[in-house]
């Protein structure tokens, strides 16, 4: 048994190294004082400082943020309403199955298919409105489309877990529909809504495929910029940028986990 334990531990450490070695290499070479090659030439923060003077990168960071904030706000509202509409009304069973299928669709189809479908659909919609030219607007639409389903799934599971007793009690005390929604349902739902919004925000920051297919020349985001850059040549500046993105991810995940954990242990 001890031999088995040792084997499990060794494999686990090996797997962790396998996950983290490449990322650590990126962070390591982002402070290496040489433009070419992988030989260690001393510590420098120059590459980080250069990032903040690079207009293209700053613009890409701005695009990434705008895209995430706008798409998350819209998808949170749509997804929450959708979840309440699905869970709190006596729809026939067949309709409920349909809802389930629709919400799971973006989860179970490969994202490249959604991207391809959006490209083709935007191609047609362009005949109606120039809004659908490749660019930030179409990217926002694309992101909302996959976010809505995730938000609705998270909020709906919260709706199920809080049950309907409190809402019934409020009704018995003559609460009107807007009052019930605003002062009872939404406050109870808040942890679910915030968790859904954070999930949507992270999904948007993390997304590459949908953005890659729907982006225009002016709407490059950070992942798109890094992808285009490393296809040509990998520079220490890219390492510095990637390290910052990685740190932002760790921060975001930390906040998200803290929040969802608090919800589970009130």
């Amino acid at each position: 048994m001890r031999k088995l334990n040792l084997a499990v531990n060794t494999m686990a450490f090996g797997t962790m190294a396998f996950l983290y070695l490449p990322l650590m290499a990126v962070a390591f070479f982002s402070v290496n004082n040489t433009k070419y090659g992988l030989a260690w030439k001393g510590f420098t923060l120059n590459w980080y400082l250069q990032l903040f003077q690079n207009e293209v990168i700053l613009h890409a960071a701005w695009n990434t943020l705008i895209l995430a904030v706008v798409s998350t706000s819209i998808s949170t509202v749509l997804g929450t309403a959708l979840a309440i509409g699905m869970d709190r009304f006596p729809w026939p069973k067949k309709m409920n199955t349909g809802f389930d299928l629709l919400l799971h669709l973006p989860v179970i189809i490969p994202d490249i298919i959604l991207a391809a479908a959006l490209v083709v659909a935007f191609g047609f919609l362009r005949g109606i409105s120039s809004f659908f030219e490749p660019g930030l607007f179409s990217m926002i639409v694309g992101h909302i489309t996959f976010q809505v389903a995730f938000v609705a799934l998270v909020v709906r599971s919260r709706l199920v877990s809080i049950g309907k007793d409190v809402e019934e009690a409020a009704r018995d005390l003559y609460a009107t529909t807007p009052y019930l929604l605003w002062n009872v349902t939404l406050p109870l739902l808040m942890p679910g809504i915030v968790a859904g919004a954070m999930l949507a925000f992270t999904l948007s920051l993390d997304d590459f495929v949908i953005s890659f297919f729907t982006a225009g020349p002016d709407s490059v985001t950070l992942p798109l910029y890094i992808f285009a850059a490393v296809r040509r040549v990998v520079t220490p500046q890219i390492h510095a940028l990637s390290t910052l993105v990685l740190l932002a991810t760790i921060l975001l995940v930390g906040v998200m986990e803290r929040f969802t954990r608090k919800k589970n242990t009130p």
């Binding site: 009304f89 799971h104 490249i112 298919i113 590459f208 890094i226």
Partner: protein, 301 residues
């Protein structure tokens, strides 16, 4: 329709209730219809269209795109596209399989940690899960670079010529894919491993069963729910992956994702791209169907 019902303690007509429900459902449903369902239907239609001389769409319905995908071109039959399709299934299966094999020890390891540090270890798996896939893919460039020991060892063993990097290659694609999807398997699996009833394992040990039998009969059935979610979460996106093969495989190891991306990028052949997407969709659904049939009663998500 005008029947009175009590819903959530409120007395109202059915008609009014449905109207109110529709108000909630309306905006989200409309959005998903216009930007999810409708585009999907258009994609199906477009896959039967043709490409004009300048990359525009020509509405002549035929099965030409699907015939081309099956390998029937102007110059006779070639297996090129079929090879790419089958290779994608193979890569997705191998990636998921290796991820499962690596995930079990990792999950046991984390589950056995004391409560205080367990959460930190779990975070170590969650962080790669959320790290951007472009960064996670290109970071292998550094590890596989000619200056580093791995490439030097391979050169010493005469696998590659000296001074070459270990990418682009099939090996690099598998490496990138497994590291990409391992957290997708490990996280759902962990939620099952955490709740594992170890007394069953102990009972099996007391009865002198072999380690393999302990795993098959005491551990696997208990962890199947989490494992199934993990397998689906990894297999589906692995089928459509194009960043990893693009950066780490180059032209040497193309997958169906690269093929689709080409049609919407440089080749500008939307109709063929749509047909390949349909092919990918069918392959994915068929694989999931096979998996579900083998594991009856599993729950999706």
């Amino acid at each position: 329709m005008n029947r009175l019902i009590i819903w959530y303690g409120e007395l109202l007509t059915q008609k009014k209730l449905i109207k109110r429900g529709a108000l909630f459902l309306g905006p989200g449903m409309l959005w998903l219809m216009i930007f999810l369902v409708l585009p999907g239907l258009i994609l199906v239609l477009v896959s039967f269209a043709a490409r004009g001389a300048y990359g525009e769409m020509v509405w002549e319905y035929s099965f030409d795109n699907y015939k081309r995908l099956m390998g029937y071109g102007i110059f006779g039959w070639t297996p090129d596209y079929l090879v790419i399709l089958l290779r994608s299934v193979w890569v997705a299966v191998v990636t998921t399989g290796l991820s499962v094999v690596l995930s079990y020890p990792l999950c046991f390891f984390i589950a056995r940690k004391p409560e205080r540090t367990r959460y930190l270890w779990l975070m170590m798996v969650i962080i790669p899960f959320w790290t951007n896939m472009v960064i996670r893919t290109y970071s292998w460039f550094l590890i596989l670079a000619p200056e580093l020991p791995f490439a030097k060892l391979a050169a010493y063993l005469k696998i590659i010529s000296p001074g070459m990097a270990l990418y682009p290659s099939a090996f690099a694609v598998y490496l990138g894919m497994v590291s990409m999807f391992l957290p997708f398997v490990a996280l759902p699996l962990f939620s099952s491993v955490e709740r594992l009833d170890w007394t069953l394992v102990e009972a099996a040990q007391d009865l002198y069963s072999s380690n393999l039998r302990i795993f098959m009969h005491a551990i696997l059935p208990q962890t199947l729910p989490g494992l199934s979610v993990g397998i689906i979460l990894s297999f589906v996106p692995a089928m459509g992956m194009f960043v990893v093969p693009d950066l780490l495989g180059g032209a040497k190891y193309m997958l169906v994702g690269n093929l689709i991306q080409q049609q919407f990028g440089t080749s500008r052949d939307w109709a063929f791209g749509a047909a390949i997407s349909m092919g990918l969709m069918i392959l994915t659904m068929f694989s999931l169907y096979l998996y579900r049939r083998k594991n009856k009663g599993m729950e999706l998500l």
